[in-house]
């Protein structure tokens, strides 16, 4: 089951790379994708049945504009702080807590936080994330969790959990 | 002018090999000499207005650069990496035995 997912992804990538549809490319691509699936199949995804649920892809489409909007807002915030003559920054590392269970969801959350300007995820330990924040607004864990994580967490739980 | 700069790069690597007394610096100097040689070969093969020597449909009669130096350099790059790895492994072993990268001290601790 896990290997089938990787087989499909690898075959699609092969078609994208070669961009030719004659029998030679197709047969060799089939063989290569089979080899890749055989070698790396069991580490590709943890729960492969989730890849076939269309609802998750729709939630992902819903997630993208929200993430972009948060990005743009944070961009303007950081630009304001940089251009301000007195540089009102207050950097520090805070510890926040996430409700997400699977590895993939945690990584996606950490990457979303990193890609938003101003915040940068440093490490993940079990269910705690360590985040470098350009303007620490509260040292408290629950408060920081509400400010940073909960923007994305609800939708990511729908996508990955 | 370009040839002269290539030779200058080679000479800097040679300077590292001759003057430096740290094993890792000597390996870095050798790598720089290798790079200078690859660069010299690629510069010699370049042809004014030429394209990369790969025939595609409709460009069978295009002006190509000289493929021979490229073919010689292609294998030499990989060999250079293997030689660097061999040198590094020797340096690591010497460090384990003598506790230093300084070649003067290594000579004194012989035996």
């Amino acid at each position: 089951m896990k290997r089938i997912v990787l087989f499909i992804v690898a075959f699609l990538l092969w078609l994208l790379l070669t961009s030719a549809l004659d029998w030679q490319h197709l047969s060799i691509g089939m063989g290569v994708a089979f080899l890749v699936a055989f070698l790396f199949g069991n580490i590709f995804v943890q729960q492969p049945e989730k890849c076939f649920q269309i609802k998750r892809y729709l939630w992902f489409c819903y997630y993208l504009p929200i993430f972009l909007w948060e990005c743009i807002k944070a961009n303007f915030d950081v630009a304001y702080r940089v251009l301000h003559p007195r540089m009102p920054i207050h950097p520090g590392i805070v510890k926040v807590r996430t409700q997400l269970k699977s590895d993939m969801a945690k990584v996606c959350l950490a990457n979303s936080i990193t890609m938003t300007p101003g915040t940068l995820s440093v490490d993940i330990k079990d269910e705690y994330l360590y985040i470098h924040w350009i303007n620490v607004r509260s040292q408290d864990m629950a408060e920081a969790t509400k400010l940073i994580v909960s923007r994305f967490e609800r939708i990511l739980a729908k996508i990955f959990d | 002018m370009i040839y002269l700069l290539c030779v200058l790069l080679l000479l800097i690597g040679l300077y590292g090999v001759l003057v430096k007394k740290n094993l890792i610096k000597i390996i870095i100097g050798l790598s720089i000499m290798e790079y200078a040689l690859f660069l010299f070969f690629a510069v010699i093969g370049y042809r004014e207005g030429g394209t990369a020597p790969i025939i595609t449909k409709g460009f069978e009669k295009a002006v190509f650069v000289d493929p021979l130096p490229q073919a010689l350099v292609l294998t030499a790059i990989v060999i250079g990496l293997a030689v660097t790895a061999l040198l590094v492994s020797l340096a690591v072993r010497i460090y384990e035995k003598h506790g230093t990268f300084d070649i003067r001290k290594i000579r004194r601790l012989k035996g």
Binding site: T18, V32, D103, V107 | T75, S89
Partner: protein, 145 residues
């Protein structure tokens, strides 16, 4: 060598197979596009090295990996030598390109160049991975218990 954080591990698991596929693509198209056995072999070795760096060498049984890398290295150089000797076996001279040429600009063409590329790719990939794995299992000052 210890492994890296969860972020690096998860992303590595996602992309390592695709890097491997890209290396094989470079090897197979060596006679049509830039690339070939040397470049593709190094990319294949890079995929495995990325896996070892992310997961940490203590998780993997490195002795087995080194043994396998040596085996594949010998296999690759044997393929290359065998293809070169094909000419001698057929009664002509060394390194004769006697497989059918095929039509130009197709994937399965150019005689022995494609299988030679595959042999070189296996050899180079296994060789560089063997170098890395021997350096990685060394114990030095940087690794703390």
């Amino acid at each position: 060598m210890r492994g890296m954080t969860l972020i690096v591990k998860t992303i590595t698991r996602l992309i390592v197979g695709l890097i491997f596929l890209y290396g094989i693509y470079i090897v197979f198209h060596g006679h049509l596009t830039p690339g070939g056995g040397f470049a593709g072999g190094i990319i294949i070795a890079g995929a495995f090295i990325l896996l070892v760096l992310a997961e940490g060498s203590e998780e993997l049984s490195t002795e087995v990996k080194k043994w396998r890398a040596s085996l594949f290295e010998s296999l690759g150089i044997f393929i290359f030598w065998f293809l070169a000797m094909l000419g001698v076996f057929a009664g002509t001279f060394f390194f004769l390109n006697l497989l059918p040429k095929g039509k130009p600009l197709e994937l399965l063409s150019a005689g022995i160049i494609l299988p030679c590329n595959i042999g070189i790719g296996i050899e180079v990939g296994a060789a560089l991975f063997a170098i890395f794995i021997t350096l990685a299992v060394l114990k030095g000052k940087g690794d703390k218990e």
